[in-house]
């Protein structure tokens, strides 16, 4: 039963995962954290960090992780990874087939135009949803946030930034 639920949830995430990794995070939050409670928001934030430092798309990484931790089996993680890949796989093949007709299609462009602010909002929601008592534990967290915000703004490499914030965490909190 849990396998079926996981499969359906990740199918949904894959199907509506417009806008790439960060936008998909709010879908994952809503489905996995809020609705099913399969992981906490803090755990998801940790996985995002791990995803940044390991290769591969965040959505796939997260699916693999949740599949394993919820079921405790490799089968579970294979199932969720498959489920999240299946809708993009099918839809992309369709897009490739109708490529010439879709390329300058005004309906497609019209829909995309209005989906853009929605996708943007989803990314904002993903950031906002992570803001809670476990991510911002004291004033030091705010300092780390501000420094990292400026660093990202000025295009410092994200892997380097996460490594440095880990070092900062060890220095400040051990």
């Amino acid at each position: 039963m849990i396998y079926l639920q996981l499969f359906l949830s990740y199918l949904k995430i894959g199907f509506f995962g417009f806008g790439g990794g960060y936008a998909m995070l709010s879908l994952i939050q809503n489905e996995i954290v809020t609705r099913h409670g399969w992981m906490t928001a803090t755990e998801l934030a940790d996985i995002v960090a791990v995803s940044q430092m390991t290769p591969g798309p965040i959505a796939i990484n997260c699916a693999t992780y949740v599949g394993y931790t919820v079921t405790g089996t490799v089968w579970g993680s294979m199932l969720t990874t498959l489920a999240v890949s299946l809708p993009p796989l099918t839809l992309m093949v369709l897009i490739t087939l109708f490529y010439t007709r879709l390329k300058n299609n005004r309906y497609m462009q019209g829909a995309m135009k209005w989906m853009k602010p929605m996708i943007c909002g989803m990314i904002g929601a993903a950031a906002l949803l992570f803001v809670n008592g476990t991510t911002f534990i004291d004033w030091k967290s705010y300092v780390i946030f501000l420094v990292c915000f400026l660093a990202t703004w000025f295009k410092v490499d994200s892997i380097l930034m996460i490594c440095l914030s880990a070092v900062a965490g060890i220095l400040l909190y051990v």
Partner: protein, 185 residues
């Protein structure tokens, strides 16, 4: 068969060596697919990529699908997708198996306390950058959508559907003749 293996291997490398967001993968994919293997012309690749980024799902995966499909149809897509997914699958599986053991370590815990605010910054910056590029009424809409999803717990799926529906209806109601002339300029 040889092409399938080549596809798998090319995308395995892409999956294993690209970190961060899908956009970071573009140069690597281009090098492998356009420069090295000559599977695509540069223009064709970018046209297809634009479509891939408007489809749902991770960019890397969508790119694997269209490159694989062009070369070997369904089986090609499958080979490329398996290639691109496998490295991250194996790595995360290993982490999922052992992270719980490490979690209670006080150094690991302290490191994550430092990392969590950094992750939020990492998501907040692209949000603001994307918001800035929108016209002002879409800026307000984007900010409102973020607040509603976060504080009212509404599923983002509804906003995706609403966005697509509004876009389709407005296009349908606009005079097609005028639109097409505008498009051909």
């Amino acid at each position: 068969m040889k092409t399938l293996l080549q596809l798998f291997w090319a995308f395995f490398k892409i999956g294993a060596f690209t970190f961060g967001s899908g956009y970071a993968m573009i140069p690597m994919i281009e090098k492998e697919v356009v420069d090295k293997r000559k599977w695509f012309e540069k223009d064709e690749f970018y046209d297809q990529f634009a479509l891939a980024s408007s489809a749902p799902g991770p960019f890397a995966l969508n790119t694997a699908v269209f490159v694989g499909y062009k070369l070997k149809g369904w089986w090609g897509s499958l080979a490329a997708v398996c290639g691109v997914v496998l490295p991250s699958f194996l790595i995360i599986l290993a982490i999922a198996m052992y992270l719980t053991d490490f979690r209670d370590n006080r150094y690991v815990e302290a490191a994550f306390k430092g990392i969590r605010p950094a992750v939020i910054a990492l998501i907040a910056v692209p949000f603001i950058n994307m918001l800035k590029k929108l016209p002002w009424y879409f800026m307000l809409l984007g900010a409102a959508v973020a607040a509603v999803i976060c504080y009212l717990g509404v599923s983002p799926i509804w906003f995706i559907l609403a966005g697509a529906a509004i876009g389709l209806v407005l296009t349908w109601r606009a005079k097609p003749g005028v639109e097409e002339k505008g498009g051909k300029r």
